[in-house]
Symmetry: none
Subunit: 420 residues, 2 copies
């Protein structure tokens, strides 16, 4: 079965915009053995878009449109699909009700223009959108399958998972791929590749892709075989071999992010923590509270950005700050201990204190500790440890990498705690 | 003049590959006032590709192909271009010599297959490739301009700069576009559209696009005229009319983000602040410290995630929390006042205190304040104000939208402060 993806929106033709929805869709299609043969990006032009749909449907059995389903007048996907298929658009009172409901729930008046989103292609199934007002549509006729999806990834992805995949599986050939993702922290991409390239290159039945983000490497294994079980066995065996080589640096084998890994580790062991952040500016607390239920292990955080906050909010000795500087091993240790102390106040119980202090740039730094240098403190029952790291890149990257480093150091520390 | 870009290569249809050449080309085209109307990505299939070229040439005056010019048998751009234009491919002895030369220079034997790169469309100009063996081609005929470029960016970009731009400038009209971006916070996308659609629809010389992110709407205006000055005047006039209608909700007219807008407002007026966050978990502090120099106005933040931290770190009355709950107008007011008090400790001076407390979900909430409800407190010299908002979407969206709302409320408050 062949598929094409059409991304709709004039903004996607700008010099700074990429259509990333198609990456997600390409992966999902490929897992089902559906071959993506063409992608295109078309502006908000009804005639051009209708042409594009007609032509894609002539060539391929599955055509997916993303975007252009919103309420405004430049959202023209519905109209273009109607032109291309010769099917009228009918107003669905059920969808109008749902949209009205949504606005009522948020206590906002519904502008009349929102009703544009309630028009459905004759014969199409409605794909429910739990995260927005624009529903998707699924049309199956003698020309094949035509799928209309909203543009925002947070609406598109759950809709595709919940509403499209089951419909697609009805049509697609049996699944004979298995994918496995290992995630790695604390070592660099070239180190990872150097250590594992001989291992994955020898396994020709698996396509291995290494993706790298600051402080976070993903190793995607995609095994192909005659049946599903065999594909799973092949992927799992290669995953184990890679894991053996990389050891503790592999933090998850189910695609789970580092913050969720740390969260479940802390929850499982009944460990609580508080943080004192400087150069990461609140991002470490943000990551720790990304998932629901984080109050179980997260006592709170103090963003002591300047020296005064370090002194007055955390009780760090002003003399220490004067002597060693706020970006120093001594300051990191004192901040971690203060966080630990503050957590105990709140919890009436012992906890881990984690601190970050560094030069995020572009200004700051000195001969010994240039921009990109950071110190991370971890204080627990067994004492306080400080780790120094030198990071490259701009301010944003240094902050993101700093948080990733703090989470990884915390993870490795918790794995070593006695009695756990 | 209209242009289309066709990226060639099966590898560009994989779940981890994006066509980034088109971003560079889009920028270069737009600078010359050439409108990019469509992009597509086609695999290494001669027939599909020939079809794509034919169709793009029918629709647009400039068609650029990237990739598929290499020596191997799956490099089919030359052949497909020949099929689409009905022009034969002639072997250029000059290019053969150049390729042989290149191999000799690197002391490598030349495989016969490399001669494939020396075939040139009848009537096309050769575009020299200083960084690789595959030359580009430029064909200009009654159907328009067809450009064949190599895929690797390091070969494509210098070739386009040196060989294509002068040829393009011969054909393209003088630059005559002006773009303007208004950014809006505090009102929804459909409200914005309802209020301004009559204004922008009446101005047919401007292409208006509305982009929406949680709590952040961008209105892109792209004016077209006979000359640059006129285009700027048209865009500016429409921008002013829209701004008049939306008033204070327009927070920037130079594309600047809300956090940077708030930062420069605080800095300009010499106002400092501290924050106490609950459901936003540190993200408000993170946004406020995203840019360098934020210590000028940001005293620090306290992430008082649980009730205990609100009580022990901020000094919020336990009875108040018990009576009204942590997600309440009373708690938001007390948190903002505590942040203000804490800031004064650090600064020895008055400051604004900002607080967030809410139900980010998916659990929590009650009849009166369901998931998505949040209270925002702002405490300053003139007293304390609390704003309630009901937000939709998942946990991540509620948190992002909550931070955006807090920043916008702070911005509007600062604009109203006396003496400023």
């Amino acid at each position: 079965m062949h598929a094409e993806i059409i991304a709709v929106g004039t903004e996607l033709l700008a010099p700074n915009k990429l259509d990333t929805n198609s990456l997600y869709l390409a992966r999902r299609l490929s897992e089902r053995g559906i071959l993506l043969v063409r992608k295109s990006i078309v502006g908000d032009d009804r005639e051009l878009l209708a042409d594009e749909i007609r032509r894609s449907r002539d060539a391929s059995e599955v055509v997916i449109l993303t975007g252009g389903l919103g309420p405004t007048l430049d959202d023209l996907t519905r109209e273009a699909a109607s032109d291309a298929t010769g099917r009228v658009l009918n107003l669905s009172q059920a969808i109008v009700k749902e949209i009205e409901e949504r606005f009522r729930k948020f206590n906002r008046p519904m502008a009349e223009v929102n009703k544009r989103q309630a028009y459905v292609l004759e014969g199409a199934e409605i794909l429910h959108n739990p995260r927005g007002t624009a529903p998707g549509q699924w049309l199956e006729d003698k020309h094949g399958i035509l799928i209309l999806l909203p543009g925002p990834p947070r609406e598109l992805e759950p809709m595709f998972e919940v509403a499209c995949l089951p419909l697609l599986d009805r049509n697609a050939p049996p699944f004979r791929f298995h994918t496995l993702t290992l995630r790695v922290a604390g070592i660099g991409e070239s180190d990872v590749d150097q250590r594992i390239s001989a291992i994955y290159s020898a396994e020709t039945r698996v396509a291995t892709t290494i993706l790298s983000a600051p402080g976070d490497i993903q190793i995607h294994l995609r095994a192909q075989a005659d049946d599903q079980d065999e594909a799973r066995l092949i992927a799992t065996a290669l995953g184990s071999a890679i894991r053996e080589e990389l050891g503790e640096a592999v933090y998850s084998t189910d695609g789970r992010s580092l913050d969720l890994t740390v969260a479940s580790l802390l929850r499982a062991r009944g460990i609580k923590l508080a943080v004192a952040e400087s150069f990461t500016g609140g991002l470490l607390s943000t990551r720790l509270t990304d998932a629901s239920g984080s109050s179980e292990f997260f006592a709170g955080g103090i963003v002591s950005y300047g020296d005064a906050a370090k002194r007055d909010w955390l009780g760090i000795d002003g003399e220490l700050l004067g002597r060693s500087g706020a970006v120093s091993s001594e300051a990191a240790a004192a901040m971690a201990e203060a966080a630990r102390h503050r957590a105990a106040e709140v919890l009436g119980d012992s906890a881990i204190g984690v601190s970050t202090t560094g030069f995020a740039g572009p200004t700051g730094g000195n001969q010994q500790d240039p921009v990109g240098t950071a110190y991370f403190g971890i204080a627990d029952d067994a004492g306080t440890r400080v780790h120094r790291r030198q990071m490259g890149g701009g301010r944003r990257r240094v902050r993101v990498l700093g948080v990733q480093t703090a989470l990884d150091l915390l993870r490795r520390r918790v794995l070593r705690l006695p009695g756990s």
